[in-house]
């Protein structure tokens, strides 16, 4: 099913939940709504589900306006962060509830519930009550309940955030796999950018009720259009330093005290302004080298595979991913090499990218 949101807005008096959301989700696509807490992800999702009435704007399913359609007539399945299982019903009754409401015959109901339960790996738990299940099992039941009626659109509201890190990882790939196999159009709300990056075909980055950007993950990562997106996408987050970009002879340089970085012509030209700009550089694009910018190790955070090293350069801090074998210590003098093909530049006033707008 194709979903289109046009100027979708939700207000409660002065409080704004969603503010003119525009986007479309193609048939079979997996879209993530990504943004910090309170940015309006759940609000938008609940409007799509038909739980909230939009204050303004239009929701279309396959071209049809569905603003007035009741949730039960929208043919959607939804998975909640809180699982929202019915505690007085056992797993079978929970999963079969949507079918019972559709008056599906007993025999077919049993078959469909068993098939879904098998698919979710909870076939042996059908007689249990939700209170007798682990969090991961409860989430599988919730997923099964959403899938059993074979919806045209699946909505997820931070379904994995109550699970422990390892389970989250495996459920993540399982959901992605399931969505690919079934080909159901899906909207997935999360504030975890890794989840969004790994699962989604496209990501809608939201802030203060507005969609800041809506694009493929690689695109958002390599060509962030705003300072907010650049800082929000990527882990560990991007470094930002105030620099002045000047032209010396035929090359552009990003300069600040203790730092003079020759830039590739295309980026340098766009970044050159008559005032300071913000330079962004990801930790993985900076490396410790024999030659380069001199700095002093300020903090070392071992991440396992890499060390995240905070290097101080004349008052500016750059986080760098370094090989643990270097065995860096606080106070060590190091030299940094910056991959200038990946640097970003932003206007400090508008916070818009100088490269991609």
């Amino acid at each position: 099913m194709r979903v289109e949101l046009e100027n979708l807005t939700k207000r409660w008096g002065d409080a704004i939940g969603a503010d003119g959301v525009n986007l479309e989700v193609d048939h079979g696509e997996f879209v993530a709504f990504l943004g910090p807490s309170g940015c309006g992800k759940t609000t938008t999702l609940l409007m799509i589900a038909g739980i909230y009435k939009p204050t303004a704007g239009v929701i279309r399913f396959d071209g049809q306006v569905v603003n007035k359609l009741a949730p039960k007539d929208r043919n959607i399945g939804m998975v909640f962060q809180s699982y929202a299982l019915y505690p007085h019903m056992n797993v079978f009754q929970n999963i079969s509830y949507p079918l019972k409401l559709k008056k599906v015959p007993q025999e077919e109901m049993r078959k469909r519930v068993e098939r879904v339960a098998e698919m979710m790996g909870i076939g042996h738990l059908l007689d249990r009550k939700p209170a007798q299940l682990s969090g991961g099992q409860q989430q599988r039941v919730a997923l099964g309940r959403a899938l059993v009626k074979e919806p045209q659109l699946l909505l997820f509201d931070e379904p994995l955030s109550n699970l422990d890190a390892r389970l989250r990882l495996s459920m993540r790939s399982e959901i992605k796999r399931l969505q690919l196999d079934l080909g159901i159009t899906s909207i997935y709300v999360t504030h975890d950018q890794v989840e969004a990056m790994t699962m989604a075909d496209r990501i809608a980055v939201m802030k203060d009720g507005k969609v800041q950007a809506y694009d493929r993950p690689e695109e958002l990562y390599d060509r962030p259009r705003t300072l907010f997106i650049a800082g929000f996408i990527g882990n560990p987050p991007m470094n930002f330093v105030d620099v002045e970009v000047v032209q010396v002879d035929n090359t552009f340089h990003a300069r600040r005290q203790g730092l003079d970085l020759p830039l590739p012509a295309d980026r340098g030209e766009k970044a050159a302004q008559d005032r300071p700009v913000i330079m962004g550089i990801r930790p993985e694009d900076v490396s410790i080298a024999d030659e380069g910018i001199a700095g002093e190790v300020y903090v070392v955070e071992p991440l396992g595979r890499d060390d995240l090293v905070d290097v101080q350069i004349n008052g500016a801090h750059l986080r760098v991913l370094a090989d643990p074998a270097l065995n860096l210590r606080i106070g060590d003098q190091v030299k940094l090499k910056i991959n200038t093909d990946k640097v970003q530049f932003f206007d400090p006033q508008t916070e818009l990218s100088l490269l991609w707008n």
């Binding site: 589900a49 739980i51 009741a70 949730p71 399945g77 962060q81 809180s82 299982l85 509830y97 009550k129």
Partner: protein
């Protein structure tokens, strides 16, 4: 059942036995006075007189068992009053239960104009003592009495009228209690049910109500007891023994003319207690049936 209990690790030996025994001993000692009181009531109703817990006959010897304290059961007026009491009590349970659980749900879940005002007025209404309203209620009952058919069921000097007044007076508390119970149920569960395809009414009946059963049971017991023991309202708005309920009739029995026989009073008291005990036995299963799990966090 579905109750969650904390399982404690067993310890072994004397400490374990003592550890398990001591709480029981302490609790038994502390409830002993109450238990003795009930035993006395029971013994007293079947004896001429008592000394301590021992039944005594006229000569002061142990014995003197008798059924004469229970002779009031032969009086048809007692049975009529019992029936009236039951009608009032059951009527209250049904009326207050149904109206509060619907109103409480609407107040907890739906947004409509006047919701805030309704809530605060309900709370203020609860603060009014029924005594203050007696005359106003009297006028209303007289008015209802003037309406054909309905008047003969719910007017002045009818059991229905008394039940109606009692229900009305109990509603503010019931509505607030129920609203509180509904407030504690996660919105997500309700949303899930709506998306699963349930109508608002089915959500209420199949998803929400089962989870506030303990609350409903508590409300039912309280209203039953209130209705069963009602005195002021039935006494004020009924005339004569035909429409009197049990407490009113009993008060007439132990009227100021005859000498009070405490053993008879005990028998009457015990008789009045029986339905409450039966009602409690039926509802306690529900009362203790508290569901947990199935949702995490969420609003």
């Amino acid at each position: 059942m579905d109750t969650t209990t904390f399982e404690t690790e067993p310890t072994y030996g004397l400490r374990r036995v003592l550890g398990q025994l001591i709480p029981y001993v302490l609790l038994t000692i502390s409830i002993l006075p109450i238990v003795i009181g009930y035993v006395w009531i029971f013994v007293a109703t079947f004896s001429l007189r008592t000394e301590g817990l021992l039944p005594k006959d006229a000569n002061g010897n142990i014995g003197g068992w008798t059924l004469q304290n229970w002779t009031f059961l032969n009086d048809p007026a007692v049975w009529r009053a019992t029936l009236n009491s039951l009608i009032i009590a059951v009527g209250m349970v049904v009326g207050v239960g149904a109206i509060s659980s619907l109103t409480g749900y609407a107040l907890s879940r739906m947004n409509f104009t006047g919701r805030k005002g309704f809530l605060s007025i309900t709370l203020i209404l609860h603060a009014f003592r029924p005594e203050m309203l007696l005359i106003a209620i009297f006028q209303v009952l007289l008015f209802i009495g003037g309406i054909p058919v309905i008047g003969s069921l719910f007017g002045f000097n009818t059991v229905g009228g008394v039940a109606l007044v009692m229900i009305t007076l109990d509603l503010p508390l019931g509505v607030w209690l129920m609203k509180g119970f509904f407030d504690n149920i996660s919105w997500d569960m309700e949303r899930a049910a709506l998306i699963d395809g349930a109508s608002r009414f089915r959500v209420w009946w199949e998803i929400i109500i089962p989870q506030i059963k303990p609350g409903l049971a508590a409300l039912a017991i309280f209203t039953f007891i209130t209705g069963w023991n009602a005195y002021l309202i039935p006494f004020t708005f009924t005339v004569g023994s035909k429409v009197a309920n049990l407490p009113v009739l009993l008060n007439q029995f132990s009227g100021d003319t005859s000498l009070v026989s405490w053993n008879r009073v005990a028998a009457l008291g015990l008789f009045q207690l029986i339905p409450i005990i039966i009602f409690f036995i039926f509802t306690q299963e529900m009362l203790l049936n508290i569901y947990s799990g199935g949702t995490k966090g969420g609003a």
